[in-house]
Amino acid sequence: MADDGPTRLRDYGLQSERLLWPTKGPSKFEEELGVEELERALGITTLDKAVRWAQTKSMWPDTFGLACCAIEMMSIVGSRYDLARFGMEAFRSSPRQADLLIVSGRVAHKMAAPLRQIYDQMLEPKWVIAMGACASSGGMFNNYAILQGVDRIVPVDIYIPFCPPRPEALMEGIIRLHEAHLAGIPPAYERKEVAT
């Protein structure tokens, strides 16, 4: 399928890649992933698929609440949104047992070291969601105190915009992460480099 046009993630079944511009070349994300890497990563077996299915159905988040977004992260567990449906209500407080780090809120430089430590304490496979504008890019706080995007210190899989994102937005981010994992895209720490 790579013959006619560049390789796209949607060719591999990543349904939620938006298809507004079908003739456009590979996205930034796909470039970052690399076509060869993509081919290699997507050559997954049935067993792999089963494991990936299990991992998406039981992706336990770490309780890493920072600021405003943490309140919305809490409401996603609430009865209206109910993250438990995806088997994700097991918010683990010990990073050793968590699979998903939701960085919810602004990260001050003082908090950067603890954040990195928490990330390092998590065991592979692990994923990171940068929730909200502040975690993704520093947001409205372009100043001395705030880290301008957590992707400086931890590899981020999914960025969720807005300030703070609605629970639905977080849920969409999570579902996309699931889809990406099911489609065979490796976690961010295998793809991206960050300063250590």
Partner: protein, 434 residues
């Protein structure tokens, strides 16, 4: 009136008109903000130093407590804050006045309406702007909804921390209804930025009153549910009563405010004693308890939720009669012109352009405005040099004051109590660190 609240083993006193107000304290002794490990104990090997936080499930964000434990007993305690220091005050100096309104909400991200209000009130005080009555009442309604919201988050999380996990879901159920109301009004669930200098950003949308009314009808029943689940539960009472004691004198010495102060027996509420908005025109009572423990702080908040519901009801009654009245001051130097005028009026276009690009100017001066936020006295100190940007903004954070009391409350407690105490002080770390 609200359903009667059952009271367990505690005298309650509602302040009456003409009651003497607390006369102050001479600060009898030094109140510590750090608990030191006794020297004799430090020598031995019995002390285990544990780091609670900055990422710990029950520190309400990124508070770090360095706790010395002798078995289960807390013998030493010091709090380290600043893990969420965001530089709001510096950033706001760089923004024009009306763009800076966006920032205060993110400071106290649970009581955002109130924080927004205090900054807007500060601007209005410097500008000496007249705010239309409808805006005043709507602000009051929003702030009281926000107070309920904040207390619900407190109740849900602190009950969760004491192991009563289901409370979290029940509290967040009601919280969602409040957020729906916010969304209906402002389009955003949190951080609505609905208050403008001069009034409100938008008119109150159609269909808001019935929704708000159904919430007001429902809230007392929800409160009854919470009380049934917690207040009649022996374990809850055991866990909270007599824990984390803070005397009235200590509370004043430590600059406490809001529910923490009222739970220590000091009858003080800025809404009643220094009315802003239209609080002098609504009926509400200020709950005061004398125990100064975790339970009383919880009870004060429970009663405040009931009272706030009543205020909301009165606000709706009043607002419904103000249909068609202006919701923002008609001062084109400060207030954005109505959208439709931009197409027909050159002057409006210029005003719009000036306000959006350069911002309005605020007369020089320094002021301090304080309101009663869900957490206590939320103050805003503003210095203006007459330019389009604030020269200095400083927020008096009630959580900052409350956290200072942790050590005093936690003397001689167990680890489990410590969790309850930190929860009961209801500090929002964004508010503490700014």
């Amino acid at each position: 009136m609200t359903a009667t609240l059952p009271h367990v083993g505690r005298a309650r006193r509602w302040p009456m008109v003409g009651d003497p107000i607390y006369e102050g304290s001479r600060i009898p002794k030094r109140v510590p903000t750090i608990v030191d490990v006794p020297a004799a104990l430090r020598e031995t090997d019995d002390v285990l130093q544990v780091n609670f936080g900055p990422n710990h499930p029950s520190t309400h964000g990124v508070l770090r407590l360095i706790v010395d434990l002798d078995g289960e007993k807390v013998v030493g305690l010091s709090a380290v804050i600043g893990y969420l220091h965001t530089g709001f005050e510096k950033n706001m100096e760089q923004k024009t006045w009306w763009k800076a309104i966006t920032y205060p909400e993110r400071i106290d991200y649970v009581g955002y309406q109130n924080n927004e209000l205090v900054f807007v009130l500060a601007i209005e005080k410097l500008l000496e702007l007249e705010v239309p009555e409808k805006a005043t009442w709507m602000r009051m309604l929003m702030c009281e909804l926000n107070r309920i919201h904040s207390h619900l988050v407190f109740l849900g999380t602190s009950a969760l921390e004491l192991g009563a996990i289901s409370m979290f879901w029940y509290c967040f159920r009601e919280r969602e209804t409040i957020l729906d109301l916010f969304e209906l009004v402002a389009g955003q669930r949190m951080h609505t930025r609905y208050f403008q200098a001069g009034g409100l950003a938008e008119d109150i949308p159609a269909g808001f009153y019935p929704e708000a009314r159904s919430f007001v009808e429902r809230m007392p029943h929800a409160l009854d549910d919470y009380l049934t689940l917690l207040d009649r539960n022996k374990i809850w009472l055991e866990r909270t009563q007599g824990v984390g004691l803070l005397s009235a004198d200590d509370a004043i010495a430590l600059g406490q405010s809001g529910p923490v102060l009222r739970a220590s027996g000091v009858d003080w509420d800025l809404r009643r004693d220094d009315p802003y908005l239209a609080y002098d025109q609504v009926d509400f009572r200020v709950p005061v308890y004398n125990g100064g423990d975790v339970y009383d702080r919880y009870r004060v908040r429970m009663d405040e939720m009931a009272e706030s519901t009543q205020i909301v009801r009165q606000c709706i009654d009043r607002l419904e009669r103000m249909e068609g009245e202006p919701w923002i001051a008609d001062d084109r130097k400060v207030v954005l012109p109505p959208r439709e005028e931009l197409h027909t009026s050159m002057e409006s276009l210029i005003h719009h352009f000036k306000i959006v690009t350069e911002g309005y100017r605020v007369p020089a001066g320094e002021i301090y405005v304080a309101i009663e936020s869900p957490r206590g006295e939320s103050g805003c100190y503003v210095v203006s040099d007459g330019g389009p940007r604030p020269w200095r903004v400083h927020f008096r954070a009630p959580s900052f004051a409350a956290l200072q009391a942790t050590a005093t409350c936690a003397q001689g407690s167990l680890i489990a109590d410590l969790i309850a105490i930190v929860g009961s002080l209801d500090a929002v770390m964004g508010d503490t660190d700014r």
